[in-house]
């Protein structure tokens, strides 16, 4: 029964049932149509978005309206094409089919956004710019946006890696050595919980450049959770592992490098994840307060000109970068912790 192959990619339980039940003749066509339904409706939603761009005149001056409309038509045609040729396209077709409800929601949302902003102005301008004005930012202000994103990435990477490395080494030291714990633990308890942003005014005065000050703050924000979780990871390693390694002739360096650290790695990655989150916050604040570059600065600058479209555009880029960084971290973790059962997928 050919419907079985289609039912495997059906997104909802209901579709799956009908696909299995509908065995013969006319019912089969009906079930095929049903499976394509979400794709067809998604295509219609994007068509509606394109039409809504052209159907009414803009209430403002936005040169990209037509281009956005034609792009929407291309997307609509693309979804329709993939939906009809789904079986021939294999994995890609199945992927699009599975995401059809999301395409539908996105198309509907864009249509609503277009109509309520650019066409009838139900949402007040300039706080709610239409989609085409955000597209315009990406086409016309790309160099500045790109430079800002690059500056942010550079600052973030430097601070994050320094913080992660120092935090990891500190965590291993205090987890392993009683003497290191005696001296570092109280300092950690005193300084660690302080939000890194609280250092901002002091850091900008004491460091030679705003860039080095920001790197320090990002490293601080990253370092604290990484230290604490590495430490707790090393401290919670079962003594049975050490006993086994010692009876097999392991020296202290082997116990640290080949037993304590690999066993603590799951904790370390929780720390790296938390550190990434708090370092994003510090990055943006630092860029808004002192660094004259980066997406945080771009946001601040756009606010100064009341160009809300630029702010939304920058927010979208920022979100993609942060999400991408977390995805990358999780990929590294999945690679290193492949021995763990059932790690959370991001």
């Amino acid at each position: 029964m050919p419907t079985y192959s289609a039912s495997e990619v059906a997104p909802f339980g209901a579709d799956r049932e009908t696909a299995v039940v509908a065995g013969d003749g006319g019912l089969q066509i009906a079930s095929r149509l049903r499976l394509s339904l979400s794709g067809i409706v998604a295509s219609l939603a994007w068509l509606a978005f394109g039409v809504s761009c052209l159907r009414w005149p803009d209430i403002g001056d936005w040169p990209r309206t037509e281009a956005v409309a034609y792009t929407a038509f291309v997307v609509a045609a693309g979804i329709l094409l993939v939906t009809t040729a789904r079986e021939a396209l294999g994995k890609f077709g199945a992927g699009v089919q599975q995401r059809a409800p999301w395409f539908l929601a996105l198309g509907a949302f864009l249509t609503l956004w277009e109509v309520t902003t650019a066409k009838f102005g139900w949402l007040p301008l300039p706080f709610f710019p239409p989609p085409q004005s955000i597209v315009e930012v990406y086409t016309d202000d790309l160099p500045k946006l790109f430079d800002s994103a690059f500056a942010s990435i550079k600052l973030q990477l430097g601070g994050y890696f320094i913080g992660a490395a120092v935090g990891f080494l500190t965590g291993v030291s205090i987890g392993w050595s009683r003497a290191a714990g005696y001296w570092v633990h109280p300092i950690l308890r005193f300084i660690g919980p302080l939000p890194a942003t609280a250092w901002l005014p002091i850091a900008f005065f004491t460091f030679p450049s705003s860039w080095s000050a920001s790197t320090f703050l990002i490293a601080l924000a990253t370092g604290f959770p990484v230290t604490v979780l590495t430490w707790s990871g090393v401290a919670s390693v079962s003594t049975a592992y050490y006993d086994v390694a010692r009876t097999l002739g392991a020296k202290p360096s082997f116990l640290v490098l080949k037993v304590a650290i690999p066993a603590a790695l799951p904790h370390v990655f929780v720390g790296l994840f938390m550190g990434l989150g708090s370092s994003f916050a510090v990055l943006v604040v630092a860029e808004m307060m002192g660094v004259k570059a980066g997406l945080g600065w771009y946001l601040q600058w756009a606010q100064g000109w009341a160009s809300y479209a630029n702010m939304y555009a920058a927010l979208i880029v920022m979100s993609l970068l942060c999400s991408g960084a977390i995805t990358l971290l999780f990929k590294v973790r999945d690679h290193l912790l492949v021995w763990q059962k059932g790690v959370v997928k991001w």
Binding site: A240, V244, A245, R246, T247, L248
Partner: protein
């Protein structure tokens, strides 16, 4: 399978060492008070002998094994391997624990290689890891992670991890205690076979009287904590032994009597 693998692998044939446990007493500190666990224990184990230590749960048998392994120094008395005082852990005395305690982040092969790697001789001795895996019949699982193994398989890997070091004294801390009864019976036969072919000295802690009688040349019975030796019984039967052996049944009755459990028989 094990026998043929061993016959091919001459490197495992190493004579066992003698072990002298000389007036050893030990205690734990609990809330500042000393809790005695071993009371003047003296045992002499000849090279290649298989000695089982039996006693009530928590009597201090496992502590004695930790002292033999060198993981802790005794409070008083001394332990000697081939006449040389035991001052710390050494790969000639390896322990197989009740839990396999395989390192979950290492594949089976890398777990078995642990001892050679820790001693810094893995590069030239990789074939010993392959041979040890073959010895326990798990060559095809070399690339598996520990969480993919059954309890019996994990314990076999732990055994291979011990044997790869060519130990002179094999310290077995209830290694079969957590296995199901069928796997346990198979593993008991394999342990006998391994011990016979390697000539290693074996020291086994167990709760299972039948297991002790099936495996050991000598069964040493301990009292409740602090552990004192109450009997040292020679099991003078040839291998392979049979569980229904009348002499073993008689010994079992006698040992259960020493442990105060004869009423159930």
């Amino acid at each position: 399978m094990v026998a043929t693998a061993l016959a091919e692998q001459a490197s495992f044939i190493a004579a066992g060492a003698s072990l002298d446990i000389d007036h050893v007493s030990h205690a734990f500190d609990i809330d500042g008070k000393a809790l005695p666990v071993l009371d003047d224990v003296s045992i002499t184990v000849a090279p290649g002998e298989f000695v089982a230590l039996l006693g009530p749960s928590g009597c201090g048998k496992s502590t004695l094994l930790r002292l033999v392994a060198g993981l802790e120094p005794p409070r008083s008395g001394s332990l000697r391997e081939d006449g040389v005082a035991i001052t710390g852990p050494f790969p000639s005395r390896v322990v197989v624990f009740q839990d396999p305690t395989l390192f979950p982040w290492r594949k089976v092969w890398d777990n078995v290689a642990l001892g050679l790697e820790a001693q810094g001789i893995l590069k030239t001795q990789r074939h010993r890891v392959d041979a040890a895996l073959e010895l326990v019949g798990l060559s095809s699982f070399r690339n598996a992670y520990p969480h993919q193994l059954s309890g019996g398989m994990a314990q076999r890997v732990a055994l291979a991890r011990a044997l790869v070091n060519d130990p002179k004294i094999l310290v077995l801390d209830e290694p079969l205690g957590k296995l199901d009864s069928l796997t346990r019976i198979t593993m008991q036969a394999e342990l006998v076979s391994l011990w016979q072919r390697t000539g290693v000295t074996a020291l086994l802690v167990t709760h299972d009287v039948e297991e002790a009688l099936f495996l050991a040349n000598r069964v040493i019975v301990f009292s409740d904590r602090p552990a004192k030796i109450t009997a040292d019984i020679a099991v003078d039967r040839p291998y392979p032994r049979h569980r229904g052996d009348a002499h073993l049944a008689e010994l079992r009755r006698q040992i259960l009597g020493l442990l105060g459990l004869d009423a159930t028989w």
